[in-house]
Symmetry: C2
Subunit: 376 residues, 2 copies
Amino acid sequence: MAEFMTGTKQRSPGATRSGGAGGDAGAGPLDGQEAAALLERTRALVDPELRAAVESLPGSMRRVALYHFGWEHVDGSPAAGNAGKAIRPALVLAAAAALGGPGARVAAVRAAAAVELVHNFTLLHDDVMDRDTSRRHRPTAWTVFGDADAILAGDALQALALRLLAEDPHPASGAAAARLADCVVELCAGQHTDTAMELRAPDEVTLDEVLAMSEAKTGALLGCACALGALYAGACDEDVVALDGFGRQAGLAFQLIDDVIGIWGDPQRTGKPAGADLAVRKKSLPVVAALASGTPAAAELAALYGKPYVKGEAGDGGEIARTALAVERAGGRDWAQAEAADRMSLAMQELARAVPAPEDAGGLLALAEFVTRRTV
Amino acid sequence: MAEFMTGTKQRSPGATRSGGAGGDAGAGPLDGQEAAALLERTRALVDPELRAAVESLPGSMRRVALYHFGWEHVDGSPAAGNAGKAIRPALVLAAAAALGGPGARVAAVRAAAAVELVHNFTLLHDDVMDRDTSRRHRPTAWTVFGDADAILAGDALQALALRLLAEDPHPASGAAAARLADCVVELCAGQHTDTAMELRAPDEVTLDEVLAMSEAKTGALLGCACALGALYAGACDEDVVALDGFGRQAGLAFQLIDDVIGIWGDPQRTGKPAGADLAVRKKSLPVVAALASGTPAAAELAALYGKPYVKGEAGDGGEIARTALAVERAGGRDWAQAEAADRMSLAMQELARAVPAPEDAGGLLALAEFVTRRTV
């Protein structure tokens, strides 16, 4: 654990129990440097395992997967790699370390790679279903290799993930595989709900539905990552469940912040145009909360969301700005920020249950704050 | 094992070692009744496990899966079920029984269900990729529920398969899960090669490529089914490998016969129009063997395959009949039948290696003959 620590003072999970934690992290000592170091360290530990698994694929699927992970260009030449931030494997390792010390962290490297493989399998398939053309600043795999190869590469990554665990002699690997497979089913259910909601009118979608979808689509795998780390640390069932809850609640907080950024994010920082989610009429959490508010602004928002946005029609983003203002006036922004703080508070409670000593919880805490503290 | 046996005399695997076995099974005592009884018994044992797994899925994917398995109509009302012939789970159980007796057969029921779940996951995805509109005499799942739901249901079935094994306390379950996951990668590679070959000119495809593709796409899962049965019987590595080889070779024999039926099958028996595979210019094994023969008929076949078939253009199937004749004259039919007999002979050799006593091999033998003895 010691080598995970930087010199910065740790926020105690006990101290955050009284609510509101995470929302004001910007003022605290957790300036993201510890998380950045953790993520870098995770990449160094997990990438060789991950890369060996991908390299074991037969030619065709190896090529698609190496491209997807950013390790190869379309023409097969080596690329610097931009395989995402490795939040999920970092959570596996941090959870293992929190409950079992440095030895458990090293033992959990395969489990961390398995979680990252599952995450990337879902990205490959979701991009096909959602017809998304860009991922990590590059054309998505299906746009380059076609639907069939992107589907097959995703199928193979799921198989690789479960093979990694099945081949791992660690005593927790069986329970971890069962949990990860169960999580895949939940991820699929979340993606189904998401695609089905796209086809429904905005006022037919309830906030509870969107929260449940977000928990399944985003929270489940973050929870599973933490639970796998706990399993590899030999933790008791109660602590495994608590770590799962920590990851789920942190995941929901992350989604809420992400949705706020999708509306009010600074294009300079997000790399997306302002109000990108509003332009595609995304039923994100702040929007659905605003629609359900019963305010005059909700009625205005419903009218705007009732017809597709046509770029430039209302003159340089005027309509988008009006839509964002309606969400804000209807209370969608305040609700999302308060809800994110509540979820972080719940996450801290779960964490404190399983890891009462603040000095052991530092890594998990730093990661949770890292994913939720991104400023708008 | 005893309850598997009917009163019919068994062909000894030892007696078939000298080659040519399987090709003339029609004259033998294995008239398919034993295999039919085995398949029915398998359904009775495995269906409850399979159905419980599918019923555990969240609503949306459960609906797609229940429809795909033939257990529900599109509207969700119960259907009689037409979930295929259960060849693969029957092979798991028969292999377990051959190497470990009736106790191993019962212990292997979860593994049998897992193999059937993987088979159906690949069917769901293959139908999406190949745009096939009919499966088991019903519209395919993607035509009814859309691509996204068919992809998600397939993803979930793969996860269910590996979860079944991960949750199985049997000492062989970990090794079985690793083997099944490995097989999924091979199945994906086979499907990739198949879809990629569709886009190439017939004379660019070699016979070795088509044989390798058929082994990956069809042989691998039949081999894996037998290997899982052996693992659950506590067999040594050598016997597991032999059983895998038996299933693979029998699977290739099956594919060869299936390809012959796809050209010369009786429409009354196959339910497909005569020469169905020729009409879609399928690069099946007899066709590719014929094209590679260097005969004048090969040149005629290449010319016919060089342009798409337009129904009725050459008058009521005249062109299809001419194409079938060219394949036959170029030796494609004879080659496929001889190759099928050779593969069955190899399968018998592998089987005899692991299961020397004929009375123990009866179930596997009956199943292998059942899948390959279908007359044209």
